[in-house]
């Protein structure tokens, strides 16, 4: 916990540096001392202070027992979360090319499997979920969900 705080503090300080550096180039409002760079400078300075404070706090608390120890023996599935992020990335890359009706059921199926749902319900709900969402958004709300390669069949 405290170890993370130290590294997070460092990362925030670096981000603050980048923000402060970028803010120098933003133009001022004509006739005024301040301009587009004002808020980013303020945010950068604040982030720098907070980052340094976090580093100092993490450094001081080194060796102290971690607070996370209470619920530490907990099973965690980071692979499942990675699959979900992959599904979102995959959707943004493939939806326009392949179409909603192909990408959505595949994404749903991958997510169901990542959450340890059996094949039967996963296949059933991947199909039903796609049809339901397509009906609700495309038919009822008229959202132009992409057709992709299925355009000729539409």
């Amino acid at each position: 916990m405290k170890f993370t705080d130290r590294w997070l503090g460092l990362a925030l300080a670096l981000l603050a540096g980048a923000v402060l550096w970028s803010a120098r180039d933003f133009p001022a409002v004509p006739g005024q001392k301040f301009g587009a760079g004002f808020l980013p400078t303020l945010v950068g300075a604040g982030l720098l202070l907070c980052g340094v404070a976090l580093m100092v706090r993490g450094w001081r608390a080194r060796g102290a027992p971690s607070l996370g120890g209470l619920d530490a023996p907990r099973e965690e599935h980071f692979g499942s979360a990675a699959v979900i992020v992959g599904v979102i990335v995959g959707y943004t890359l493939l939806a326009d090319r392949l179409g909603f009706l192909i990408v959505a059921p595949l994404g749903l199926l991958a997510t169901f499997k990542a959450l340890r749902v059996g094949w039967g319900p996963a296949l059933l709900w991947a199909a039903c979920g796609t049809v339901l969402v397509h009906f609700a958004f495309y038919k009822l709300l008229r959202v132009p969900l992409p057709w992709g390669v299925l355009r000729p069949f539409y």
Binding site: P27, A36, P40, V43, S80, I84, I88, L108, A126, G129
Partner: protein, 499 residues
Amino acid sequence: MDAVAIAFGLVFEPYVLTVILLSAIYGLFVGAIPGLTATMATALLVPVTFFMPPVPAVAAIVTATAMAIFSGDIPSALLRMPGTPASAAYADEAYRLTRNGQPELALGAGLVFSVLGGLFGGVVLIFAAPSLAEIALRFSSFEYFWLVMLGFTCAIFIAGRDPLKGCVSLLIGLLISCVGLDNPAGAPRYTFGNAELTGGISLIPLMIGMFAVSEVLRFAVTVNKPVMAIERPFGNVFSGMWALIRKYPMQLLRGSALGTAVGALPGAGADIAAWMSYAISKRFSKEPQKFGTGHVEGIVESGAANNSALGGAWIPALVFGIPGDSITAIAIGVLYLKGMNPGPTLFVHNPQNIYAVFIVFILAQLLMLPLGWMAIKAAKQVLRIPAGLLMPLILLFCVVGSFAINNTLFGVIVMGLAGVLAFFMERWGFPVAPTILGVVLGKMLEEQFFSSLIKADGNLFVFFERPIAGTLGVLTLLIWAWPLLRHGAGRLSRRGGPA
């Protein structure tokens, strides 16, 4: 008076009533499923409300959130898993009551006192908002600047457990609000030559990411196997409630008043109201030793508090455009989309819409009694639906909903990034609410600060010259100085006292 009649006409038409009924059922369902929060319910509703006229859109949000905050109590009592964070404060207490053979008392108190607390918050909203709006009509940029600063301060120091991390969250939100062309100089900031970014980060996909996708990710990572505490059918949940009201009137009033006040503070919502009320209830109770063993007193007070917080949160949201909690932060986004820009002028130009919101508030609380009772009856079946089946469908809904706001995949990218950001922020102890506040209020802060600065012409004392601005300014600075003052006072007393 005409406006009130028009407002009744706006609410009591079949379309709006159907929307209210459906969003009530939706809110009860989402609230009852552990892992799906009231804020998530709101974020998921937005893509649908996008296609509605203003009154039903706001009615859907008001009704769904009220129901979700109550129904979060149901899995607390039956599974020891709060359905929403707002029920977490007394989840143990409710579960123990169920284990002691009194699930009816736990669920009935949750329902009845949610309704009473919600009505209290609604009535305060109805009376406070218009009078505040009259005062706010005379506000200049100085007052708005300090109001925004006070909002940020409350979110960091009062709502959060760790002010330093709260401060980082807020700054991240402000940084996100910097993106785009919308700044005093009209210069592109952090757009990296991308046309989509020139318009700024759109609020709704960001919220869907931070409140819904992050929950799906959290669910995927953790493994929970809840155990149902009771198998027998429930008796009458309303029996004994009148006796409870007569036994704990002070607790009901205190919880509702504190909940409304905490709700009205920016950044602090129903969950913090419930925690504070539970603690206060125990502190002032005649039987504090019974708390934690299955004692209904804490449920009465904090159950009323979390629902009254909803009404409180709408006060600053409608009057100043400053959200009282994460739910109203999303609602403000919806109000802007609907051309119902929040602020005191809304009360002058569109009073019928405001009155319609008030009517919906009261209607939603009254509807909660019968619908909540039905939800309790159906609870055991609903809680058997595995969340693993719901989460992927919610994810697809998030993706399509984020796409639907502007019909671009850019919204989906924003949603995904925001989801991952919020997931890690929560994991590392950074509260998400200040970030949302920063994003929503960043533009307002910059705008009001610049107009104030031009008016002040280099003299910073002008920021404190007007009475209300001065009071707000001093209050903000005092809260910031408080930790230092306390530290200093502690040192002095240690030096003065015995070694």
